[in-house]
Amino acid sequence: MSEKDKSFEELMGELETLVSKLEGEDLKLDDAIKHNERALKLIHLCRDRLDSARQKIDKLVRTADGGFEKQSME
């Protein structure tokens, strides 16, 4: 799964896990460096998403065949 397909929640979840791992004591230096790099990348990704976010608002309506259709409310 590429980073783009991951939800904000998944990215944040991974970040929070890494941060708590890094805050723990017993980490090999290699792992610590790897985790640290990844955490910084995740922060970057999350920040980018927040910065570029523009709220999408849809109205959900029932169609004749019983399905759903979204109509933009903006």
Binding site: V19, A39, I43, Q55
Partner: protein, 407 residues
């Protein structure tokens, strides 16, 4: 005919009144009573005294100031009301009365009773059970909203969500929130969101209004739709003081629609601040870790075991250096000594060159035979001599010979 009195079973007035008091006050500790107000007196103390009556009976009632300040309508003589309270017995006068703590106009009173009954029923079914509450997602991607498309609530919700966390997509199912059919629309919107299964959390609610306005959220069909929802639901109906059945069934209750919006998403400003803090903390943390490893490396490298061969190598190096130094020094010595000697020699050699003397104005005198004349003894008057100067020779004849006294 009554039987003759038995002393052991005879009660005093106080005793029987005590029993009556106990029975009535225990049996009617919390009751709803519907009736018409009559003989209402608002005493200067602030307490209200009145009777509740219907065609067949009347009940003396009191509502003390502490409770009646929160009554939101003006009770008048002849008004139908529903009152809640307890029966209290006053032994000195042998009277009982209803001590009212809550009073509603009759129509509202009916709603209130319906509310209490449904609440009791659903509670008994376990629909309010804390263990059924689903957790709200921390960062919802999509939020479903069930409310009126025209009310203040939807505007407040959208405003707050886009200010706090614009990353979230909003999907609205517009519904009637009051009046005929509202409850059905709300319930089916909740079902639709579950069918669609795209949103991670639902906001269900409306802005403030009267008890009747909010009633749809007290209906069983809405309560059951909320309870059946696989998607966590935040209920947000009316103002802080309004409580609906929806609030009890929902996974979380928000006092207002605005508060619900604040509750379902994080504040991205705070998140961004958190990112900066984490970045800094990570950096400090990494530096600390690297420092710790560096110290370990340092102390290991200083250990004796590693130090010995290193020391030996160092000593060899030193020796080599010394040798190199001294060899350089000694050859330099030799050269400089040789140079000095050479210099001395050249000075002496220079000094020994007779031609150098001529340069200074001296002359070399020789006789006709070429023999050098070193003493006056070799010369008499008239002896031919040759004087050799720097740049040539002069021939002459000696005219006077005089001896110099030597000390």
């Amino acid at each position: 005919m009554a039987q003759s009195p038995e002393l052991t079973n005879t009660l005093s007035v106080s005793q029987i009144t005590g029993h009556i008091q106990h029975t009535l006050e225990k049996g009617f500790a919390s009751v709803w009573v519907k009736g018409e107000i009559s003989n209402l007196t608002r005493h200067s103390s602030g307490h209200w005294y009145f009777s509740l009556k219907d065609s067949g009976a009347q009940l003396g009632s009191v509502m003390f100031k502490r409770q009646n300040v929160s009554v939101r309508f003006e009770p008048t003589h002849g008004m139908e009301i529903t009152a809640h309270g307890r029966i209290s017995v006053y032994p000195p006068q042998g009277r009982y009365q209803l001590v009212v703590d809550q009073m509603l106009p009759a129509g509202q009173g009916d709603l209130h009773l319906a509310f209490e009954n449904l609440k009791k029923k659903l509670h008994a079914e376990g629909l309010f059970d804390p263990s059924l509450k689903q957790q709200l997602p921390a960062y919802p991607e999509k939020i479903g909203i069930v409310t009126s498309p025209t009310g203040a609530a939807i505007r407040d919700i959208i405003n707050i969500l886009s200010r706090r966390f614009p990353l979230t997509e909003l999907v609205v199912i517009p519904v009637k929130v009051q009046g005929e059919g509202a409850a059905n629309e709300i319930a089916s919107a909740i079902d639709s969101f579950n069918e669609l299964n795209e949103c991670q959390v639902l906001l269900v609610g409306r802005g403030g209004g009267s008890l009747e306005d909010l009633w749809a959220f007290n209906e069983e069909i809405v309560a059951r739709a909320i309870a059946n929802s696989k998607i966590p639901i935040v209920s947000a109906v009316g103002h802080e003081t309004d409580t609906t059945i929806s609030d009890f069934v929902a996974d979380q209750r928000a006092p207002t629609p605005s508060a619900a919006a604040e509750l379902v998403v994080p504040d991205s400003t705070e998140l961004i601040r958190w990112f900066s803090q984490v970045e800094q903390a990570l950096q400090t943390n990494m530096l600390g870790k690297i420092e710790k490893y560096a110290q370990r490396l340092d102390s290991v490298s200083r250990s004796y075991a590693l130090k010995r061969p290193e020391l030996m190598i160092e000593q060899s190096h030193q020796k080599l250096d010394q040798l190199e130094d001294s060899s350089i020094r000694s050859s330099q010595d030799i050269i400089s000594k040789l140079t000095a000697r050479l210099d001395n020699l050249s000075v002496s050699i220079e000094a020994l060159n007779p031609l150098n003397i001529l340069e200074k104005g001296y002359a070399v005198i020789s006789g006709v035979d070429g023999e050098l004349i070193r003493s006056i003894k070799q010369v008499t008057n008239g002896t031919e001599i040759t004087m050799r100067l720097r740049d040539g020779e002069v021939s002459s004849v000696s005219s006077k010979v005089k001896k110099r006294k030597i000390k």
